[in-house]
């Protein structure tokens, strides 16, 4: 029995006066595996992801990260400790525009009050880990980088504290196809070096199959498909078939 990395127990979320976004979701994501969340816009995948680091507080139910409760933390220090253990990568806008690449990358260490020498050392490590030349980019601002470079710095920032859990919300969505596939390779390599518990929100079935061990499809706040990556192609599940045939159509048109 693999240990649980992230566990959702009957998680529901209904914003004040709005319709339900998550309905009674129960899932156990094994530690050290990558899980892809697929679904249409508005299906609740980003919201589910954000319950893990407490950016969204579920209306009911419980979220556990490596055995520790992750929701309804009333103690600020506990909340911060949880978040320090979870890397968070989002599409495009995530870097602070007024900070250099170096400061962006090791912001979490700066918040920890680490000495300056540590910051620089770690910044060099993570920036090089994501395939950038530290001396060339360290003092640049996000607007001086290409989209791919920005996304690499975003990834470096999430890796800075070497967290056991990573939340990635369409991390490669805004990139051109070539850069995207480079980034996917890099992600694979990072996972080979150290198995983290990754939750990956994506629109792209190909990306999900390539990067994830498990694929979950959400629709209207509910889990409508949940299967291992290897089962996707042969699945009889209608939601899965929709995705698979959409990919086939695309290939046929080529």
């Amino acid at each position: 029995m693999p240990t649980a990395g992230v566990e959702f127990a009957k998680v529901s979320f209904t914003p004040d006066g709005g319709p339900s976004i998550l309905r009674d979701i129960s899932l156990t994501l094994a530690a050290g595996t990558t899980t892809a969340l697929l679904g249409r816009s508005g299906s609740g995948k980003t919201t589910l992801l954000r319950t893990v680091n407490g950016l969204v507080q579920p209306t009911s139910g419980e979220v556990t990260v490596h055995g520790k409760r992750a929701n309804q933390l009333h103690d600020v220090q506990q909340q911060i400790a949880l978040r320090r253990g979870i890397g968070y990568v989002i599409q495009e806008t995530g870097l602070f525009p007024h900070m250099t690449v170096e400061r962006n990358a090791v912001m979490s260490l700066e918040l920890d009050g680490r000495p300056k020498a540590d910051l620089e050392k770690r910044a060099r490590e993570v920036i090089e880990q994501v395939g950038l030349d530290f001396d060339a980019v360290r003092s640049r601002f996000p607007w001086q980088l290409s989209g791919g470079q920005r996304q690499r710095v975003g990834l470096a920032r999430a890796l800075a504290l070497d967290p056991p859990v990573m939340l990635m919300d369409e991390p490669f969505g805004a990139l051109d196809p070539l850069t995207r596939s480079e980034m996917q390779e890099m992600f694979k390599e990072l996972q080979r070096q150290k198995k983290r518990t990754v939750v990956l929100v994506t629109h792209d079935l190909g990306e999900a199959l390539y990067l994830a061990d498990r694929v979950i499809i959400l629709d209207n706040g509910e889990v409508v498909a949940d299967l291992a990556e290897s089962e996707v192609a042969s699945s009889g599940n209608l939601h899965v078939k929709d995705y698979v045939s959409a990919v086939h159509h695309l290939i046929e048109r080529l």
Partner: protein
């Protein structure tokens, strides 16, 4: 022109008084408006009523406000004190409103990234919200300063001094030279303050693309 050279000393003194009134009022207005604006972003329920009150002060005719404050015990005793309080009231709205909107309009994605990195509310304010809102806040300070320089001329009506003294004297004695001797330096003060703060504001804009 002759008048200017003859009264250089007096114009200088009144300009200094004018500056004194404006700068003191601005310091008070920033000291109140900035923290209050920040507080409102943390207690959004209060934003509408508080900004509403500042709005009401702003819409009162300045002469009427000076007159209304005259009978107030401690304030009425000293004209400059009263003028500074009234000017602070006028400067408050732009600073308060721009601080609030500036921080509220920081990209919510960046705010959530800041939270996800484990920033406390104070760290988020210092590292993310204030730097990104700085140019908007400074635009408010700039507007408030120009308003203050203008309204401070009215303060002469209650004997608080400043360049308004020359204007009021000029109006009373139908002497255009005297009016201009007050009005031109006041206008120059406003222009200089506006362009200095405008320059600073541009430097604080964060480039995004």
């Amino acid at each position: 022109m002759n008048f200017f050279t003859q009264h250089a000393w007096e114009i200088g003194r009144l300009t200094f008084e004018h500056l004194w009134l404006t700068v003191s009022a601005m310091l008070f207005a920033v000291a109140i408006g900035l923290p209050l604006g920040i507080l409102l972003t943390r207690k959004r329920r209060w934003a509408k009523p508080v900004i509403g009150i500042a709005n009401v002060i702003q819409t009162m005719p300045s002469l009427a406000l000076f007159g209304l404050l005259l009978p107030v015990p401690w304030l009425g005793e000293n004209a400059a004190r009263l003028a500074i309080v009234a000017l602070t009231g006028y400067a408050l709205l732009p600073i308060l409103r721009n601080t609030y909107t500036g921080i509220e309009s920081v990209d919510p994605e960046l705010v959530s990234v800041a939270e996800a990195l484990g920033m406390t509310s104070w760290q988020r304010l210092r590292n993310v919200e204030l730097p990104l809102a700085a140019s908007v806040i400074l635009a408010g300070v700039r507007t408030a300063t120009v308003i203050c320089v203008g309204v401070a001329t009215i303060a002469a009506a209650i004997g608080a001094g400043g360049l308004g003294e020359l204007i009021f004297r000029g109006v009373a004695s139908v002497d255009n030279g005297l009016v201009l001797a007050g009005a031109i330096p006041a206008a120059l003060l406003a222009l200089v303050a506006d362009s200095l703060l405008g320059w600073l504001e541009k430097r604080l804009v964060v480039r995004r693309a």
